[in-house]
């Protein structure tokens, strides 16, 4: 909720001590993680959850954390929040060290780690917002109007005085998000924010996350298995596996770098002999029989496409259909991590 205006105001009236801190934080990244490592267990049972990870997130950006289960995403987030103490490394939130100046750091950060289990179900939606705003260091009376607006945007206004336990799972999830945003944190961590939401709720949530980032300057670190959410919301994607970052770039850059353009050709003239030739010459990724003939997917980036067409022409193949298949984020993810994301979770939560 509006970091800039408040920061400017504070600069006008700050004491020397706070002024120094403010000046330091004016150019500070929203989140800076330096050489962070964390392992659990001893001896043979040692598990390296996070391995020398460094990461910087600029204010007002949305960064997606992607990785298979056990990749270290949640541990990284919990270390960033100080809920788990790292073995080595440092975390700073808007310039404040989480370990040394946790009170200052916590004034600017909040998290939704438990999905729908993130607030008090016996309290009403509004009571939750007021309570967690206070816990987060904000006088709830001063943000009452903002709370109303927030509830309105998340389509929760008519449920404001309803106990959370009486709401659907999707609404509970939205209440969790609302209570995280209620305290006006400038940096929020969201762990699987759309998990369990129906299509419409997930769409509303994605829209609101984009609006919060782009209009109000909220910085979001979002962990999800849902590629659709990541692609739609995030400015940047950080992929993790085995506790390490294996890719860190914008979605478009990751897709471009994948260089995995595939052509899908369908023809009734593709026989076994031609398939053998294609397989021996090119990277054939899939073959399937359809009502229109045989369908072949061939990795054909750059000049390879001409060679494929030449081979088909030499065999007098009449092409029924041809299309280029662009790589998806999931393909990039599998290529970089060597693992498939949790399909079940992804499908259940995807749009």
């Amino acid at each position: 909720m509006g970091r800039t205006a408040a920061a400017d105001e504070q600069r006008d009236t700050a004491t020397p001590a706070t002024e120094a801190a403010t000046t330091g934080s004016a150019t500070a990244p929203a989140l800076a993680i330096e050489s962070l490592s964390k392992q659990f267990g001893d001896g043979e049972n040692t598990v390296v959850a996070v391995d020398d990870v460094s990461l910087t997130v600029d204010p007002g950006t949305v960064v997606g954390l992607l990785g298979p289960n056990g990749a270290g995403k949640t541990t990284l987030i919990k270390c960033a929040l100080g809920i788990v103490l790292p073995d080595t490394g440092a975390v700073r939130v808007f310039g404040s060290d989480v370990a040394d100046s946790h009170q200052a750091a916590y004034a600017n950060v909040d998290a939704m780690l438990e999905g729908a289990r993130n607030d008090y179900w016996r309290l009403t939606v509004r009571e939750n917002l007021r309570y967690f705003a206070t816990i987060h260091g904000v006088d709830p009376a001063s943000v009452a109007t903002r709370h109303d607006r927030l509830l309105d945007r998340l389509n929760l206004a008519d449920k404001a005085d309803t106990p959370v336990r009486e709401l659907s799972r999707g609404m509970k999830q939205k209440v969790s998000l609302a209570s995280v945003l209620a305290g006006g944190a400038d940096l929020v961590f969201l762990d699987e924010p759309t998990l369990g939401l129906d299509v419409e709720s997930a769409r509303t949530l994605r829209r609101e996350l984009r609006r919060l980032a782009h209009e109000e300057g909220l910085t979001i670190v979002l962990s999800s298995h849902n590629m659709g959410v990541i692609e739609a919301v995030c400015d940047r994607v950080v992929m993790m596996t085995d506790g390490r970052i294996v890719a860190d770039n914008t979605v478009s850059a990751l897709l471009s770098a994948a260089d995995r353009n595939v052509v899908r050709i369908t023809s009734p003239d593709i026989d076994t002999a031609l398939l053998t030739t294609l397989r021996s010459t090119f990277d054939v990724q899939a073959v399937e029989s359809t009502s229109d003939g045989t369908r072949v997917d061939i990795a054909a980036g750059g000049d390879t496409l001409y060679a494929v067409m030449e081979t088909l022409r030499a065999d007098d193949v009449t092409i029924e259909t041809i299309q280029t298949l662009k790589p998806e984020l999931e393909d990039v993810f599998v290529e970089l991590t060597g693992m498939a994301p949790e399909q079940a979770e992804q499908r259940s939560g995807s749009l």
Partner: protein, 294 residues
Amino acid sequence: MTDDSDTTTTSTTANAVPSASGATVSSASTTHDSEPKPATYYHLAKAVLYREFLIFVRYPANAIGGIVVALFFFGVLFYGGRLLTGRALTDSIEGIIVGYFLWTLSVGAYSSVSNDLGSEVQWGTLERHITTPFGFAPVALLKGVAKIVRTFLTSAVILAAMLLLTGTQLSLSPFTVVVIAGLSITSVLGLGFAAGGITVLYKRIGNWLNLLQFGFVVLISAPVFDAPWTRVLPLAHGSALLQRAMVDGIRLWEFGLLELGLLVGVAGGYLAGGYLVFQLATRRARRLGVLGDY
């Protein structure tokens, strides 16, 4: 709920949440329009107490059940004891009521604090109390105070019911009773914090730790006159003072400074000790990465 959007104020909030980042909440900030104002410890205390009240009234089975069970056991104690011992029990009924009142207070304070952390973990709200700019410890302490207030209310109902049931009269100077009983169970609050910290670390051991509440009977009836050293144990000295206040009608200011000093010292000592254990246990839980697990 009020909206301060129409007012323009310039204020320096002395005890507001510290924020070095220059973000929305600051220790010395000018606030106007609808900009967020920093919450003070007053706001925090109010929010925690109000939440405690809401949880209390919205879990009516828990609230009423605790009172009914406590009165049932007292009924068994009173009528069963009268059948067995006759007049002997009736002669000492005042002491029993005071002791039982203190025991219900102690059990309420201890179990609510030690169980509260487990509940927060189950509700998924514990982490949010850790990442508060107020700091986890002050929030936990205020939650403990809220539990004590709640326990006082339920124990007052139990006390009134016991007096009606037995037709007994006690000296009930509210100031004296609240101060002595409050300080007495502050030591138990310390034990509750220690138990809560151990629960966070080792998880499902709440039932074992709850056994400790039966030890409160021993502490409340400790022979402080025959064995003065027992006065440094939790509850023992406070129980003796409360007996004198409620049975003999002695007011708070009529006790000696040494007696009151010891009451405060024992309360502060156990609270500080419990708080330290709590801090160490939660820090270890953070190190092991098991803080929010259940």
